[in-house]
C-alpha cells in the first residue's frame, strides 16, 4: 500500500524495461500478414511544373503491387491548415502534388511493392517530365520583387501580415527614449530530428470497412480527425489510429503529413497493409522544419536602463505550404511572449509570413517561444552593452515583481504566477557571479576570452484555453480527456488523450493516480496513443500533458472518490457527507475504525447487492478539462564559455539552469527533459542549421553527415536547480517542463559568446549558429576594426 506522497518523488520509469531490452514497439517494428512496402517518388527540384509522370516501366518492375499519382486520388482534398489568421492565404496542399512541385522532397507518386527494395527499385524507374523553374528559398528574398511566384493565391508569396501590441504607444516611447538600440536578428531554420524517423502502417479491413493506421504521431485523435473529415472524406469512426511507442517528436510528429494520408487511401485499393518508413534523408526534406525568422528589433530605454519600448518586425518563412499549425507559430506562440519577464512601457510587433520553395515550417520544440526568448534576451544584453550596464543589473532593474495570481502583459497574455528575481538570484549564487567576473578580468589580461551569458526566460504552455485560442484562429479545442476505469478487483486503467513519446507518462500519470487513490502503482495502467481505446484526446505538445492531461485524470479521480463515498457510506450506514478518503480507504470522519478499502468499494460497484438507492452500478468516470489560462514556466539560465580567438571554437565551461515549472511530479523526469532541451537549444546556438543552396534550392544540410546534431563530447554536464511557484490555473499546480530548456538556452550561449568577444569590441552577432568559422570571422573583423 502506497502511503507516502508520490507526487514529487523521483520514481524510476515503468516504461524503461521494454526499451532497455529491445522490446519497444515502434511503428516500423510492425509486421502484418500480406504487408506491402511503400516508397514515395519525390521532386528533386525546388520549383518545377509536372508535365507528365510516366509510371509504365516502373509498373512492370518485379514485385510492384501498385503505383499511384495525384491524378489517381480523385475526391481527395488538400491537407488542412488548422489555424487561421485574418486574410491568411491558404494554397492547396495535395497529398501527392499534381500540377507542380514546390520544394525538394515534395511527393508526386507512391510505389507499393512486395519488398522495400522492390519499391525502391521501381521508384527509380518512374519518369517525371519536369519543367524546372527558378526558385526562392531565402526568408528575406521570398517576398521581394522578382522572386518566383509560388502559389496563385498568395501574391508576392505573402501568406499573412499580422501585428500585435500598441503601435502608437510604442512610437511615443521611442520618441521620449534617452537611448535606443536596434539589431538585426536571424533565427535560423532547424530540423527536429527525433531519432525515430516518421513511419506508418495502413491496413484496410474489407470485411468491416474499417481502417487501422499505425503512425508516428504525438496526437493520434487529431491525426484521425484531420485525415478523415478534411482530406479523405471517410467516416471518422471507421478509422482507428494507433501511435505506439514513438521515438521522439519535438513537434515534428504533431502534423498530418502526406505519406500516412496516401498510404491510408491506397490501402483500400490494394487490399493489403502498406508500410512506409522515412529514410533520414526524407526526414530532413519532409519533416516540418522549425524557426526561420529574420527580425529587426529595437529597444527604447531610459538613461537608467528601464525598458520603455520594444519594436519588432519579423519575417517568418513558412516553407512551400501551410503545415497543420504553421500560422500560429510565428504569431500567437511568438509575439505574445515578447513581454518576457520584464515591465515594458509599450510593445509592438509586426510579422509577415512568407512562402518559399522550402520544406514547410511548423512547431519545433518551443515553437515561437524560443524565437521570442532569443530576441528578447539578445536585445536585453545589447541594451546593457549600450548603457555599459552589467547584464545582471539591467535584468534585475526590469523584472516584473513577484505576483501570485495574474499579471497583464502588453501583448495579450495574462501571466499566472511568477517570482522572476528569486530564480535569477538563486542562479547567481550557484554561479558565484562576482567571482566569475574577477576570473574573467584576470583571464582577459592573459589574452583568454571568457564570457558569460544569461537568459531569464518565460514561456507559455499548458496549451490551451479553447475559447481563447478559438478567438485567435485555432480550428480546434485544446482541452484534454482523462478516463479512469476501476475494475471490480480494484485495479485501475487510466485512458489519457496525451501521448508519450519519451516524456514518461506511464510513470508520472500513474504517480498522480496512485497518490490520489492511495493504491500501488503496480495496480494502475496508463493507456494512451490509441483512438480505439482512448475516448478522445488532443495529444502532446506545448508542454501540456501533466497540466492539461493530468488535470483531466485528476477530475475523474475526484468523481470516482465522490461515488465511492456514497457506496462506502451505504456499507457503513453513515452519511456520505461524513465520509473521507484516506490512504486507500473510505473512512467516516472522526471514526477511523469505520472504514471500507478502495477494493471493496470497487467490487461492490460491480456486484451491487447491498447498494445505495439512485446510484448507478460500475465505477468509471471520464472528464474533459479545458484550462482557464495558459501556464507560464520561467527561470534563469547561464552559460560560461571560452572562445579560442585563433580558431573561433567555442567551449562550454559551465551550463547552469534554475527553472520554475510549478509543482513537480517526478523530479528525475523533469530534470531529464531540461537536460535534453538545453542540448537542443545549445545546438541551435552553436551548430545546427538547415541550409538551402540559393541557386538550386537544394537542401544542402540534408543528412546527419551534413547537419550537426550534438554529440556527447560537445556538451557538458548541466547544473540544474529549481524554484517552485505553483500555478493557480490547475489543481495540480504544475506548469509544464517539456520545452523550457530549449527556449532558455539558445540566448544564454550566444550572449556568453558575445560577452567573451566584447573584449574585442563585439556587441552583437546577428546570425546563428556560432560555428567556429562564423566566430573566427567575427574575431577577425573586430581585430581589423581596432
Amino acid at each position: 500500500m502506497a502511503t507516502a506522497r508520490l507526487l514529487g518523488a523521483s520514481i524510476k520509469r515503468r516504461e524503461d524495461p521494454r526499451f532497455i531490452t529491445g522490446k519497444g514497439n515502434y511503428t516500423d517494428d510492425l509486421k502484418l500478414a500480406g504487408m506491402t512496402h511503400a516508397v514515395f517518388v519525390r521532386s528533386p527540384h525546388a520549383n518545377a511544373k509536372i508535365r507528365k509522370i510516366d509510371t509504365s516501366r516502373a509498373a512492370k518492375a518485379p514485385g510492384v503491387v501498385a503505383i499511384f499519382t495525384g491524378k489517381d486520388m480523385t475526391g481527395v482534398n488538400s491537407l488542412p491548415c488548422g489555424w487561421l489568421l485574418p486574410e491568411l492565404k491558404i494554397p492547396p496542399h495535395m497529398p501527392l502534388a499534381t500540377d507542380a512541385a514546390r520544394y525538394v522532397g515534395d511527393p508526386v507518386a507512391i510505389v507499393i511493392a512486395e519488398s522495400q527494395s522492390a519499391a525502391s527499385d521501381a521508384a527509380g524507374m518512374v519518369v517525371v517530365d519536369w519543367e524546372v523553374l527558378p526558385s526562392v528559398t531565402s526568408t528575406e528574398k521570398a517576398a521581394a520583387k522578382g522572386s518566383p511566384q509560388i502559389h496563385e493565391v498568395a501574391p508576392s508569396n505573402v501568406a499573412f501580415n499580422w501585428q500585435i501590441g500598441d503601435a502608437a504607444a510604442t512610437d511615443a516611447a521611442f520618441k521620449s527614449a534617452a537611448v535606443t538600440v536596434k539589431k538585426r536578428i536571424v533565427n535560423q531554420r532547424l530540423v527536429a530530428n527525433p531519432m525515430e524517423p516518421r513511419a506508418c502502417v495502413a491496413r484496410y479491413d474489407e470485411a468491416t470497412g474499417d481502417w487501422t493506421l499505425w503512425v508516428t504521431s504525438q496526437n493520434p485523435h487529431v491525426h484521425r480527425l484531420l485525415m478523415t473529415a478534411f482530406v479523405l472524406g471517410i467516416p471518422e469512426h471507421k478509422v482507428r489510429v494507433i501511435a505506439p511507442d514513438v521515438g521522439g517528436g519535438f513537434g515534428s510528429k504533431i502534423f498530418l503529413y502526406n505519406e500516412e494520408t496516401v498510404c491510408t487511401w491506397a490501402s483500400r485499393l490494394v487490399k493489403r497493409p502498406i508500410r512506409w518508413t522515412s529514410s533520414r534523408r526524407e526526414a530532413f526534406q519532409t519533416d516540418a522544419h522549425g524557426r526561420d525568422h529574420v527580425t529587426e528589433a529595437e529597444v527604447a530605454l531610459s538613461r537608467e536602463g528601464k525598458f520603455l519600448g520594444l519594436r519588432v518586425k519579423t519575417t517568418a518563412n513558412l516553407g512551400a505550404y501551410l503545415s497543420t499549425f504553421a500560422p500560429a507559430v510565428p504569431t500567437y506562440l511568438y509575439a505574445t511572449l515578447l513581454n518576457g519577464v520584464y515591465e515594458w512601457g509599450a510593445i509592438h510587433a509586426a510579422v509577415t509570413g512568407v512562402f518559399s520553395n522550402t520544406t514547410p515550417v511548423d512547431a519545433y520544440r518551443g515553437a515561437g517561444r524560443p524565437e521570442a526568448c532569443y530576441l528578447l534576451e539578445r536585445m536585453v544584453d545589447a541594451a546593457a552593452a549600450a548603457l555599459k550596464m552589467d547584464p545582471a543589473d539591467i535584468r534585475k532593474k526590469n523584472f516584473i515583481p513577484k505576483f501570485d495570481n495574474g499579471y497583464q502583459t502588453k501583448v495579450a497574455l495574462m501571466y499566472d504566477s511568477g517570482n522572476y528575481a528569486a530564480a535569477f538570484d538563486k542562479l547567481l549564487v550557484m554561479l558565484d557571479y562576482k567571482k566569475f567576473r574577477t576570473e574573467q578580468t584576470a583571464a582577459r589580461a592573459k589574452g583568454r576570452l571568457l564570457g558569460i551569458g544569461f537568459s531569464t526566460y518565460i514561456e507559455a504552455c499548458s496549451i490551451a484555453p479553447s475559447k481563447v485560442v478559438g478567438s485567435l484562429g485555432a480550428q480546434a479545442g485544446l482541452w484534454e480527456s482523462g478516463k479512469v476505469q476501476v475494475h471490480p478487483t480494484g485495479k485501475v486503467s487510466v485512458f489519457t488523450g496525451s501521448h508519450s513519446h519519451g516524456q514518461g507518462h506511464e510513470t508520472t500519470m500513474a504517480q498522480i493516480v496512485a497518490d490520489q487513490l492511495g493504491i500501488s502503482m503496480d495496480d494502475i495502467e496508463i493507456v494512451h496513443g490509441d483512438t480505439g481505446r482512448v475516448p478522445f484526446g488532443m495529444g502532446t505538445y506545448g508542454s501540456r500533458s501533466a497540466s492539461v492531461g493530468g488535470t483531466a485524470i485528476l477530475m475523474s479521480l475526484n468523481k470516482i472518490k465522490e461515488k465511492g463515498k456514497k457506496i462506502a457510506a451505504h456499507l457503513l450506514e453513515a452519511n456520505p457527507k461524513d465520509m473521507d478518503y484516506v490512504n486507500g480507504q473510505f473512512v467516516v470522519k472522526g471514526s477511523p475504525q469505520k472504514a471500507v478499502p478502495f477494493g471493496a468499494v470497487a467490487l461492490t460497484a460491480y456486484v451491487p447487492h447491498n447498494y445505495p438507492e439512485g446510484v448507478e452500478p460500475g465505477l468509471e468516470e471520464t472528464s474533459f478539462y479545458d484550462p482557464a489560462n495558459f501556464c507560464f514556466p520561467f527561470g534563469a539560465h547561464a552559460c560560461v564559455v571560452e572562445v579560442d580567438a585563433d580558431t573561433g571554437h567555442v567551449k562550454i565551461l559551465r551550463y547552469l539552469a534554475v527553472d520554475d515549472v510549478g509543482n513537480v511530479i517526478n523530479p528525475m523526469i523533469v530534470d531529464g527533459m531540461v537536460h535534453g532541451g538545453i542540448a537542443q537549444g545549445v545546438a541551435q546556438a552553436l551548430w545546427e542549421e538547415a541550409v538551402y543552396d540559393s541557386d538550386s534550392g537544394q537542401l544542402v544540410s540534408g543528412s546527419m553527415m551534413d547537419y550537426t546534431l550534438p554529440k556527447a563530447d560537445m556538451l557538458p554536464f548541466y547544473e540544474t536547480d529549481r524554484t517552485e511557484t505553483p500555478t493557480p490555473v490547475n489543481p495540480l499546480g504544475v506548469k509544464g517542463a517539456g520545452e523550457t530548456g530549449t527556449i532558455a538556452s539558445t540566448p544564454a550561449v550566444v550572449n556568453a559568446v558575445v560577452d567573451a568577444l566584447s573584449a574585442l569590441g563585439v556587441d552583437h552577432i546577428d546570425t546563428m549558429p556560432l560555428t567556429a568559422e562564423r566566430v573566427w570571422k567575427t574575431v577577425q573583423a573586430a581585430k581589423s576594426r581596432k
Binding site: F19, E196, S279, G502, D671, H675, L709, F717
Partner: protein
Amino acid sequence: MKKTVSMTINGAPQSHDVEPRLLLVHYIRELAGLTGTHVGCDTSQCGACTVHVNGVAVKSCTLLAMQCESAQVLTIEGLAKDGKLHPIQDAFWEKHGLQCGFCTPGMIMSAHQMLQRNPRPTEAQIRHDLEGNLCRCTGYHNIVKAIQYAAEQMAGK
C-alpha cells in the same frame, strides 16, 4: 539471385535466403524478427543499429548480411541473461539514461563494448567513445551518468 546466409544471433541459429544487397540490420529486424536494433539514419551517424559481431561493436547498417556468414551476433535482446538485466541495462534504467528509447539499444551495445575495453573510463573518455551514437532526448547527461554508474557496479563485482 538470393543467397542463403546463416549466422548465430543471441545464441540461436538463423538461416535465411537474402538478396546480396541486404544489410545486416535488415536481416536482424526483418528476417530474424529482432526489432530492438533500430535504423535512425542512412549514413552510419546515429548508431541506433549498433550490435556486436564476433565480439566487436559495429553499426549493423554498414555491413551486408552476406559479410556475416557464420558470425556470432549479439543484439540488445541477447544482453539480459536468465531474466536478469545486464548491469549496463540496469544502469540506464537507474540513472534515467533514456527517454524515447529509440537510441537506447545502440547506446547500451556501444557502452558494453566501451566498458569491455576500458572498465573505468573518465567522463571525457565516455563522451569521446559515444561519438558514434546520437541521442536527441537526454542531452547525454544521464547517459554519461549511467555508464559511470555501470562501470562502478561492474567493478564492484
